[in-house]
């Protein structure tokens, strides 16, 4: 039948051209890959490893350069960087589900127990023992987030402790003494009151994780063993302080802070004090004198740290070489990213970010007392519950005991 022939041939031509095009695409790439590895054809047995990263644009290029240097120095492994420029965790999850897990993956600290409990991550204890790994070099708080289930499963490559930034000009104008590192939360409110005028606020706390206030008084949402301690007397003290600050009038309402972005409010001189990561770029981007001190304390000296880690997949073919590569790569990142989670890497800060020199001692002290969350396998769901049932009601001024009770009820529902 004539019609059938022509239809068929049309479809054939179309799909052939598609295949051809896509085949061309992959061919050209294969040859390119060969070119790239062509320099090391002599050592063809190098273990091939892949690391996924959310680094983008320039940051990606810097990371690739760093990895290429490692590859050139090593005759055991060759690491390939894979960029995931958007929806990082969705793609990572899909890759793992499709049995295409990368050997290494960047993770934010919250994901470590989640991935570990699902059997995705390899234990690093054994293979790292054979590598040149120095556990004591890490600040303990940073390394803790890489541990779950009594084993090390991820190495931190960045740990940005939260510090108190302040606008020296605003302090001078209001005649308030700058924070000296010994402040308590009450001192913080006191100073904030003097700095709050029409259209400008003393401080901002919306960007801070709530647990930091609990730690400040020796409490926590969960303890190390995963028991709920949100209703302990220490935790309650922290919650009281959070509500007290939120309602004191020295901080803008959350809607306002969210719409403008907390860091930008500080940058533009709308708030006098901001508690944020020690690596933030206020010194460069704001047109006033920036000061830094340790965050205020309750009964304990402690601060939160934003920690990024690299974990290793259980599916990696040669764990021993891979662990070695992971250790080398992580150490190399410590020379690149600020703030490093290791004591030896820490000193790089003045080289990489000379503008931070004035505050090196503060940042070091903060790194020593910094910690991450006691993350749980269902951390994402728990965080949603904390936001819904705890943070928002607290800011609205609802009764603390009542919000704690409903939050714990929700926790139990999630954890059952």
């Amino acid at each position: 039948m004539k019609f059938w022939k022509s239809t068929l041939s049309l479809i054939m031509v179309l799909s052939l051209s598609a295949m051809l095009m896509s085949a061309c695409g992959s061919n050209s790439n294969e040859s390119k890959n060969k070119d790239a590895s062509g320099t090391n054809t002599a050592v063809a047995e190098k273990v091939k490893l892949k690391v996924t990263t959310w680094a983008g644009a320039d940051e990606l290029k810097e990371f690739e350069d760093l990895v290429n240097k490692l590859n050139a120095d090593s005759d055991e492994y060759s690491i390939e960087v894979q960029s995931i420029p958007s929806d990082y965790y969705q793609k990572l999850q899909t890759m793992i589900a499709g049995n295409q897990a990368p050997d290494f993956m960047w993770l934010s600290q919250e994901y470590v127990p989640q991935y570990e409990s699902m059997g995705v991550l390899a234990s690093l204890d054994e293979p790292l023992a054979k590598a040149d790994f120095n556990q004591d070099d890490y600040f303990p708080g940073a390394l803790d987030v890489g541990k779950y289930d009594n084993q090390l499963v991820a190495l931190p490559w960045i740990s940005q402790p939260y510090v108190l930034y302040y606008n020296q000009d605003m302090f001078d104008k209001a005649g308030v003494n700058a924070p000296d590192g010994t402040w308590t939360w009450d001192d913080f409110i006191e100073a904030g009151k003097k700095l709050t005028t029409d259209g400008q606020w003393g401080a901002l706390i919306n960007n801070m994780p709530l647990p930091m206030f609990l730690w400040s008084y020796g409490g926590d949402v969960f303890d190390k063993d995963g028991n709920i301690t949100l209703d302990s007397p220490e935790s309650m003290k922290g919650l009281e302080m959070y509500q007290k600050i939120a309602q004191s009038g020295v901080v803008p309402a959350r809607s306002q802070a969210d719409s403008m972005g907390g860091a930008d409010m500080f940058k533009t001189g709308k708030v006098a004090m901001f508690i944020g990561g020690a690596g933030d770029d206020f010194e460069k981007t704001s047109n006033f004198k920036v000061g830094m001190s340790l965050p205020p304390k309750g009964s304990e000296e402690v601060t939160f740290s934003w920690i990024g880690v690299t974990a290793m997949s259980k599916k990696t073919k040669n764990p021993e070489v891979a662990a070695k590569a992971l250790n080398d790569m992580t150490k190399a990142i410590h020379q690149w990213k600020v703030v490093s989670p290791t004591k030896t890497g820490f000193d790089e800060i003045t080289k990489i970010r000379p503008e931070k020199e004035y505050a090196v001692d503060t940042i070091r002290k903060a790194s020593e007392v910094a910690r991450g969350f006691n993350n749980q396998p269902k951390q994402a769901e728990l965080d949603a519950a904390i936001w819904d049932k705890l943070v928002q009601p607290l800011e609205k001024g609802e009764d603390i005991q009542k919000t704690v009770d409903t939050t714990i009820a929700k926790f139990n529902e999630i954890l059952k």
Binding site: F3, W4, Q93, V120, S255, S259, K378
Partner: protein, 296 residues
């Protein structure tokens, strides 16, 4: 002459092949996953209808369903009416109409994350554009996204703003209308409204029908902007947002898949109703008999 033989199969064959090669297996897999607990990494654990039972006890799910259905009920007719109106307005030969069409079509082109972020700013209570304009008239400020009652109106505003993106199908449909019909109506002294009601609307019904079905699908599956814009009291947490959270944040793929099938059944039911009703109001030129029955 409609051919009663099976020639039609030859034409739809590419799709049938594609369906069996690319779609059937994943669908079967997804059907099974809906009956399991699955973290996407380990072997699924069969739980029978457990997911479906817990869905209807899950307050967050019911809220998301309600938010989505309420949005769909209003936004679908609103979107169709606005798009149709815009299409009629730019289907004229006035000067610069090409530029107007392009400008009005922009919302469809510049979609994505940055536009959602822009809307978040426009709707902002303290610095937003809308409240800034309203304050010039001494009205407001309104908490568009912070007041739960205003979240739905905010999303409807975005629908109206983006209606230009939907004008294209109507514009194409309007080209099917022979100009002599309008000329004849002009001679009869018909006004704009009569011409619209008696000529334009009937000929456009197949396209309206298409947009109705696709509008239902689109509204029920609303995701991208809602995921970024959100809204107080979870009023902006649409069905798909909650599904996404379960699938890719909480690693509850079985539960999320069950949600997907519930959504499928709802959309399918609505579509079947629309299809059933179509013989009463959709007018296809190829079905000549109905033409004379309607007497248009």
């Amino acid at each position: 002459m409609r051919q009663k033989n099976q020639t039609g199969y030859l034409y739809i064959m590419p799709w049938i092949i594609g369906f069996f090669v690319f779609t059937v297996i994943p669908l079967g897999f997804a059907f099974y996953i809906g009956l399991t607990k699955w973290d996407t990494f380990n072997t699924p654990e069969f739980v029978g209808l457990g997911n479906y039972v817990s869905l209807f006890k899950d307050e967050d799910f019911l809220k998301a369903l309600w938010v989505t259905i309420r949005f769909g009920l209003i936004s679908v007719p609103l979107g169709i009416a606005t798009s149709l109106l815009i299409a009629c307005l730019v289907n004229t030969k006035i000067k610069g109409v090409n530029l107007f069409r392009t400008a009005l079509y922009l919302p469809a082109v510049v979609s994505g994350v940055s536009i959602s972020l822009l809307w978040k700013w426009i709707l902002d209570q303290d610095f937003g554009l809308i409240n800034m304009i309203l304050s010039k008239f001494g009205i407001g400020p309104f908490g568009w996204l912070t007041n739960p009652d205003l979240v739905l109106p905010s999303y409807l505003m975005i629908v109206v703003w983006g209606a230009g993106g939907g004008m294209l199908t109507y514009l194409a449909g309007l080209q099917d209308i022979p100009s002599h019909l309008y000329e004849a109506a002009d001679i009869d002294g018909a006004n704009l409204f009569h011409k619209f009601k008696n000529i334009t609307l009937p000929i456009l019904t197949p396209v309206i029908f298409y947009n109705l079905v696709m509008g239902i699908v689109g509204a029920m599956r609303k995701f991208s902007d809602a995921y970024i814009i959100g809204g107080a009291d979870n009023e902006g947490r649409f069905f798909m947002v909650y599904l996404y959270e379960n699938a890719f944040k909480y690693f509850k793929m079985g539960y999320a898949t069950a949600m997907g099938w519930v959504l499928f059944v709802i959309i399918l039911a609505l579509t079947l109703i629309v299809f059933r009703s179509s013989s009463a109001w959709v007018y296809y030129e190829s079905e000549v008999k109905k033409k004379s029955k309607k007497g248009k």
